[in-house]
């Protein structure tokens, strides 16, 4: 799986409220499927389905203990998604800062210089 595909899976996995709630629960520590069934009031197959989606996105991993296979949070893919959004936002914030400076410091290039009410900057 390419990393691009993985990011798609991460976004897809997080698009569901139940899956987000499962992740929030796992923040507190690993849990078995049965332990996840109780608080959510969902049937076990439903929980398992959600876990598969989370697993495919690399957001959770399952332990080896055959019977219980505790589920635990794997935070790295989430951090990647968050990091990307943050850096894209920063790119634009920085650029707009420079645009602001450029337009504010430069002499007006327009022919008409009406409306100087913004002279105080």
């Amino acid at each position: 799986m390419t990393s691009q595909a993985q990011l798609d899976h991460v976004f897809g996995a997080l698009a569901d409220a139940t899956r987000r709630a499962i992740l929030s629960r796992l923040v507190q520590g690993e849990a078995t499927v049965n332990e996840l069934v109780e608080p959510f009031g969902l049937k076990q197959p439903t929980i398992s389905k959600h876990l598969k989606v989370l697993e495919r996105a690399g957001l959770v991993s399952r332990g080896r203990a055959a019977q219980f296979r505790p589920v635990r949070l794997n935070a790295a893919p989430l951090a990647d998604a968050d990091k990307w959004i943050g850096s894209y936002r920063r790119l634009w914030e920085d650029s707009f800062d420079r645009l602001d400076a450029l337009l504010g410091s430069k002499q007006p290039t327009t022919k008409s210089r009406k409306g100087k009410q913004n002279g105080r900057k």
Binding site: S3, Q4, L7, L99, T110, N118
Partner: protein, 175 residues
């Protein structure tokens, strides 16, 4: 209609900036090659314009150069331009020939991002509103992305539960 279901989409990754400059000048800063190169780009990089075809279907092709690092190429593919009103384009990394490319530093970046900026002038100030979202993602993914972005980042998103999750993330991966 279904205003509530549209809400998430409308509040997608959004940055709004009010400039104390008339729309006419702001538009030039976006549309004229020389001006655009002066302000657009990541911090710490100089942007070298290789091509700027400011029309629908045209490309802005550029190299981002920084000290001690190989140049990174990128491109805008303009899809819609309505003078002094709006610009819509796809942004992606590129190769030297303006072909589309994956991000050189992280394969996790979406391949293409659809951006739109809308301009509005009032009393000599110009408001720019920029939206962005991954291009070609499924509706569900786009919706999630929109929600995530409107919150600014995971840290502010989803109220208490996600605050908690984000705090935990920082501990796990924030080295």
């Amino acid at each position: 209609m279904d205003a509530s279901s549209k809400k998430a989409t409308n509040s997608s990754f959004e940055i709004r900036r009010v400039l104390t400059a008339p729309l006419d000048r702001v538009w030039k800063a976006w549309s004229e090659r020389e001006q655009f190169a002066k302000w657009w780009g990541p911090k710490g990089c100089s942007v070298e314009v290789s091509l700027l075809e400011f029309r629908a279907g045209g490309f802005f092709h550029y190299a981002m150069r920084s000290v001690n690092a190989p140049a990174m190429w990128g491109r805008f593919n303009y899809r819609e331009i309505v003078p002094q009103e709006r610009i819509v384009w796809l942004n992606s990394f590129a190769n030297e020939k303006c072909g589309i490319a994956r991000a050189p530093f992280s394969e996790l970046c979406p391949l293409e991002i659809e951006n739109s900026v809308v301009f509005a002038e009032q009393d000599g100030t110009t408001t720019m509103t920029l939206h962005a979202e991954p291009f070609g993602a499924s509706a569900e993914e786009v919706r999630y992305f929109a929600e995530l972005c409107s919150a600014g980042s995971l840290e502010q998103g989803y109220g208490g539960t996600f605050d908690q999750l984000a705090g935990h993330l920082r501990q796990l991966v924030g080295s």
